[in-house]
Amino acid sequence: MHLNQQQLLPLYEAMVLIRRAEERLSRLFGDGEVPGFLHLSIGQEAVPVGICAALQAMDTVASTHRGHGHALAKGVNLDGFFAEILGREEGLCRGRGGSIHVADLRVGMLGANGIVGGGLPIALGSALAHQVRRTGGVSVAFFGDGAMAEGVLHECLNLASLWKLPLIFACENNGWSEFSPLDRQFAAQLGALGNAFGIPAVQVDGSDVEAVCSEATRIVAVARRGDGPQILECKTFRWRGHYEGDPQKYRDAGDLADARSRDPLAVSGARLEAMGIPADRIRTLERAVEARIETAVASARLGREPDYAAAAADVYTQVAGGAHG
């Protein structure tokens, strides 16, 4: 199914935002402005954008260590996003989480996660809350192929099916579990595994945002009307290393070239061109995104160092009139 121009343009713009934001982060990291680890999802932008386009504001997503795309696609505040990754008080998490823990509960983004598979049961619990509270919402568990070998995925498939939870298992299968290829990590097929638990599974081209969005829209509607969990396996490509600075010696040149040959921006860009959108309109859109990013970076650089006393006071929830030891 193809989208029309009005539908595809915002998705393209959302993918450009993720691509340019991560490219900017890569440069900031190289310049020593981003502390810690940085895991980029360049090449995978169509998955979060296509899925989040099928969601409503009340819907929730739990993410992974490679979670910038999920956060931006779900609509987290861009200034807060950059401020967080640069370790500033103005960050979404006040500089306490960083890249691997970006969260914005206001838009239903329940957090990137430093533990492979860690977001799965959290998304399941969020789906339970939607079901019990009858919010009409659905929950999405983003996970990579690396999480397929985690026991908690198998537990979650089982429980989500037993309880018919409004939960989407959204697998970003980029073929690499950190430094190892999928065929040395996982002996099964995700679709067959899901079917064993009675969960319908579909595979899509994760480089084609229209394909992702179409399938996501269909299965989100199924989950939302109470017909239980769904699996969407998106075949995608990781262009960068597991983390920035990863020399990727475990990966041959052909594999990297294959990855780059399926560029979600090129796929959708060609579609827009075929629709007759002028190239300069696309370029204007891209420039506007880049300007927003530069504003966010500048604002983050001006941000304050995080407040240690405030952090110490937040180990537990501060209750008015109460005191903790």
Partner: protein, 333 residues
């Protein structure tokens, strides 16, 4: 006042909390239709229905992880892990997710969840069904840990745990489920972190919690005949623990014993001993002494288990050592 049992007090606390707040939900292994492995949740499915009271498969990691997501989504989940030994399977959700979400996300959300779990030996349940692992959780910033010793405290602390905005590990002792005690028609609330003076005394202080409170009280009674006055503090909460209550007692008695069923090494007693020594070294007339289980897996056979677990006699011996302690002596291990 009416007499009830520890397990029934927990059951009533769950029912009252669910009655008062429709966001409280219960799930865990065999908690709904079977009524709980120790019958603690009996009747709650009938009272509150299958939406709010749910049996889960045997999937501890997902039980705990789902509680985190449910709590972030507006519910107040109370989940059960059938034996504290099985908490090993739920560690990621508790240690990396529940404990950190409030802090790590800059205070955007809280995680109001309770994990109920029974600890303790005495049932010859063997090495994987008898452990007291509360110190592990007390060690993790962001978690709270409570261990009630009697029905009234079990009721009040469970209500406090469910009302608390942060994740609470609520530890029940298996041997206490049938223990009797008074529970008022309108029970008094207890704040997490407040200790209770179980017995007033002036010569030596025993700080303890859970099932060891009863052993400490028996030991204290045995000293009364000799004119030795023993104060017993029931800590009730391990994280946070009531430092002020212990300091006030030590200021009076100058002698402190910490007694618990958990393995002594690296335990709650070690933390309290270190802290009190740091703060009140000059007030102490003797070193702080610890009583706990020997450093071995809890064995199965009756004779072995009895020898491993601490009891009244071990507490009494520690009190004696404290009273008899002389400067410039070394205690033989």
């Amino acid at each position: 006042m009416a007499e009830t049992r520890y397990g029934m007090a927990i059951n009533r606390a769950l029912a009252d909390a669910m009655q008062a707040d429709s966001s409280v939900v219960l799930f865990g292994e065999d908690v709904a239709a079977p009524g709980g492995p120790f019958a603690v949740t009996r009747g709650l499915l009938a009272k509150f229905g299958p939406e709010r009271v749910r049996d889960t498969p045997i999937s501890e990691a997902t039980i705990a992880g789902a509680a985190v997501g449910a709590a972030m989504g507006g519910l107040k989940p109370v989940v059960e892990i059938m034996f504290m030994d099985f908490m090993t399977l739920a560690m990621d959700a508790l240690v990396n997710q529940a404990a950190k979400a409030h802090f790590m996300f800059g205070g955007q959300c809280s995680v109001p969840m309770v994990v109920r779990t029974p600890h303790g030996g005495g049932l010859n349940a063997g090495p994987q069904h008898s452990q007291c692992l509360e110190a592990w959780f007390a060690h993790v910033p962001g978690l709270k840990v409570v261990v009630p010793s009697n029905p009234a405290d079990a009721y009040a602390l469970l209500r406090a745990a469910i009302a608390d905005p942060d994740p609470v590990v609520f530890v029940e002792n298996k041997t206490l489920y049938s223990a009797k005690g008074e529970l008022a028609e309108v029970p008094q609330p207890v704040a997490i972190g407040d200790a209770r003076i179980a017995q007033n005394g002036s010569d030596v202080t025993i700080v303890t919690y859970g099932a060891s409170v009863a052993a400490a009280l028996k030991s204290a009674a045995s000293f009364a005949a000799d004119g030795i006055s023993v104060e017993v503090i029931d800590l009730r909460s391990i994280q946070p623990w009531d430092e002020r209550a212990v300091l006030e007692s030590v200021a009076k008695t100058r002698r402190l014993i910490v007694a618990h069923e958990a393995v002594t090494a690296f335990g709650v007693g070690a933390e309290i001993a270190a802290r009190i020594s740091e703060l009140a070294f000059g007030e102490l007339a003797a070193p702080v002494l610890r009583v706990g289980a020997d450093f071995m897996p809890i064995p199965f056979a009756r004779k072995l288990e009895r020898a491993c677990l601490p009891g009244e006699a071990d507490i009494t011996a520690a009190v004696r050592r404290s009273l008899d302690w002389k400067p410039n002596t070394r205690i033989t291990p």
